[in-house]
């Protein structure tokens, strides 16, 4: 029994990671209808930004909560800026080209960040400084670390925070308007360029926070780490209903649980394929996702 519980906890922890990244994906897609392939790589950049900041503050030798907060905020700020730059220089020029051009550009940016990362950071994996010492809590036969708990808590907070921003603030309203119809939103006086930039900044900052949190729990970082995780997070976003914020959370948790369950069975070798199998099934049977609503395409 405690194995099942443990696996449940494992699945939740993994799921929270996917959820954190999926939230950013879903937000950008919701506003721009763009699958930002580079999102997973911004997550990677966040982890690296955190790495350099934490080392600059020498947090490995003297861990502190305050230091961790500073590093996280710093990484978020840096990646927010990077996100805005990517949008400005790579996505905006192709915004009015056919959608596939944006997709290809996104792939290009993703590759650029990955291999550029290998050139700049070197290809060797680095280990993230232990800004907060790991502690294992044992409840019944089940173990969970404080870092895993942190990820779960942060993911939930972020989800509520995003919901608040998108549904209860003016900028959120502007984001929703832009997502309905960009040209009309512009006509209504909304500075769509600013709204889009804000969306990217927010999404990228979230990805960075995710990167730092995850690097704390799983300290190995390398320039290619965002690839697979990003892709699976995208699947999670689709599963929950792309453009839907609570959906991203649910999708992330479900994918995490699925992968955990598979790892524990004889089919562990097919675990990587599982997320994609889910994607295909969802798109076949319920393309809107769990919480999404089917939109009719008007001609």
């Amino acid at each position: 029994m405690d194995t099942v519980l443990q696996q449940l906890i494992n699945g939740l922890s993994l799921g929270a990671i996917y959820a954190l990244i999926a939230l950013g994906y879903t937000m950008v897609y919701g506003v721009l209808r763009l699958i930002n392939f580079a999102h997973g790589d911004v997550y990677m950049l966040g982890a690296f930004a955190g790495y350099y900041l934490a080392n600059a503050l020498n947090l490995d030798a003297s861990p502190s909560i305050l230091g961790a907060i500073v590093v996280t905020l710093g990484a978020m700020a840096i990646c927010g800026v990077i996100g805005v730059l990517i949008e400005r220089f790579a996505y905006r020029p192709v915004r009015h080209h056919p959608r596939l051009a944006s997709l290809i550009t996104a792939i290009g940016v993703s590759l650029l960040l990955e291999y550029g990362g290998q050139v700049v950071f070197g290809a060797n994996p680095r280990f993230f400084p232990q800004m907060i010492r790991a502690e294992v809590y044992s409840v019944g036969g089940v173990q969970i670390t404080n870092q895993n708990l942190l990820i779960i808590v942060v993911a939930v907070i972020v989800m509520f925070g995003l919901e608040f921003i998108v549904h209860r603030t003016r900028i959120g309203k502007a984001m929703r308007a832009t997502s309905f119809n960009l040209s009309v939103a512009k006509l209504m006086g909304i500075n769509t360029d600013y709204v889009i930039a804000f969306t990217f900044a927010l999404g990228s900052a979230l990805a960075a926070a995710g990167g730092v949190m995850v690097a704390l729990a799983i300290p190995r970082i390398d320039p290619l780490m965002g690839l697979m995780t990003g892709l699976k997070a995208f699947v999670a976003a689709v599963l929950g209903g792309i453009g839907n914020i609570p959906g991203a959370m649910i999708g992330g948790v479900l994918i995490g649980l699925l992968e955990t369950w598979l790892s524990a069975t004889a089919y562990s070798t097919y675990r990587d394929a599982a997320a994609f199998a889910v994607l295909i099934l969802i798109l076949l049977f319920r393309p809107a996702g769990i919480l999404g609503s089917a939109t009719v395409e008007k001609v």
Partner: protein, 343 residues
């Protein structure tokens, strides 16, 4: 073209290819082909097949597929499997062997046909459910399928698993590669110029309008998908049985699919000449940039990525746009006509 002209043209082509093949294998007199360049030429040929066949889906039909490597894998592994496990037996049946030209040719034909069939089936399996989906979703689903295929192959010890299919017997040569490359161009060309091609163009233009006109879009999209997949499968079979080029699931991943996409994007999505150009340029480019890599390892891929982004921003139609290289263009030039019309 009249039938006799066609036959003559085909015979001439085959003749040239056989001649070049002889040069590649044995050389003429005191001359021979430098092995490094020969290898690059062979790789160009394979990439041409991949690029032109992808163009059928992405260019002509306007559907965005990032799963081409998956079809290459399915076809490649099936084809190689046949040769490795049944090749000797088949050659033996004909009283020949794999080292003998006849034996090798027959086994190769059977092997490639198997690869094409397997890949076509995969194309069917992927196409039917997926082609109901819109642009970006289709892209992700095809990517997903190709990753699933990759993971499955990784777990089959009989074809080498993570080590790769190193038991492959190298029966591919210049003749086969370029014969198939030319065949691919001819097939896609003919499709483009036919009613089928016109249907695809309509679907590409406005799918809903096409559906409203009574065209069963899914059926045609799936057909294009299957043909494209089959050709990719043949490319896989050729690639895996090239000397010192074993198939490896780790490298038949979506990065490979993206490399093929870059080829047709640079050349111009929708243009066969563009695909050929893109395949050639992007096979030669990494080799030519080796010097650069010596200084800063990884600069090659960074260049790749930048090329992709910049092309999308400044010239999304690629080099050729939708135009083709044609005799008509030469004739127009010769006659000094004012600017030729864009097709």
């Amino acid at each position: 073209m009249r039938v006799t002209t066609k036959i003559l043209a085909t015979a001439a082509t085959v003749g040239v290819l056989l001649g070049l093949n002889y040069l590649f294998e044995y050389g003429f007199g005191d001359f021979r082909i430098n092995a490094y360049y020969a290898r690059i030429l062979n790789l160009i040929g394979i990439n041409v097949i991949l690029a032109v066949s992808l163009n059928l889906i992405n260019g002509l039909a306007g559907q965005f597929s990032i799963g081409h490597a998956g079809f290459m894998a399915v076809g490649g592994y099936s084809a190689t499997f046949v040769t490795v496990y049944y090749g000797r037996a088949i050659a033996g049946l004909l009283g020949s062997s794999l080292d003998d030209a006849t034996g090798a040719a027959v086994v190769m034909t059977i092997s490639l046909l198997t690869g094409a069939a397997a890949a076509a089936l995969a194309g069917l399996a992927v196409g039917i459910p997926s082609l109901r989906l819109r642009g970006d979703y289709l892209a992700i689903v095809t990517l997903g399928f190709s990753e699933i295929i990759r993971v499955i192959i990784l777990n089959i010890p009989a074809v080498g698993g993570a080590t790769g299919f190193t038991a492959a017997i190298p029966i591919t040569n210049f003749f086969w590669i370029f014969a198939v490359a030319i065949l691919t161009i001819v097939i896609v060309r003919n499709i483009a110029a036919s009613t089928f091609g016109r249907v695809l163009a309509t679907i590409r233009g406005d799918e809903i309008a096409a559906e409203a006109m009574g065209i069963s879009t899914t059926r045609y999209k799936v057909l294009a998908f299957v043909i494209s997949a089959a050709l990719a499968g043949v490319a896989g079979g050729l690639s895996g049985q090239l000397f010192a080029n074993p198939l490896n699931p780790q490298n038949l991943n979506f990065v490979r699919s993206i490399e093929i996409i870059v080829m047709i994007v640079i050349g111009g999505i929708g243009s066969i000449s563009g695909a050929v150009f893109g395949a050639t340029a992007l096979t030669i480019l990494p080799e030519a940039l080796r010097r650069l890599d010596q200084q800063f390892p990884g600069l090659r891929m960074v260049t790749y990525a930048l090329l992709l982004i910049l092309t999308m921003i400044f010239r999304p139609q690629g080099l050729f746009g939708r135009r083709e290289v044609s005799w008509a263009w030469l004739r127009r030039r010769g006659q000094d006509r004012p600017a030729a019309a864009i097709k």
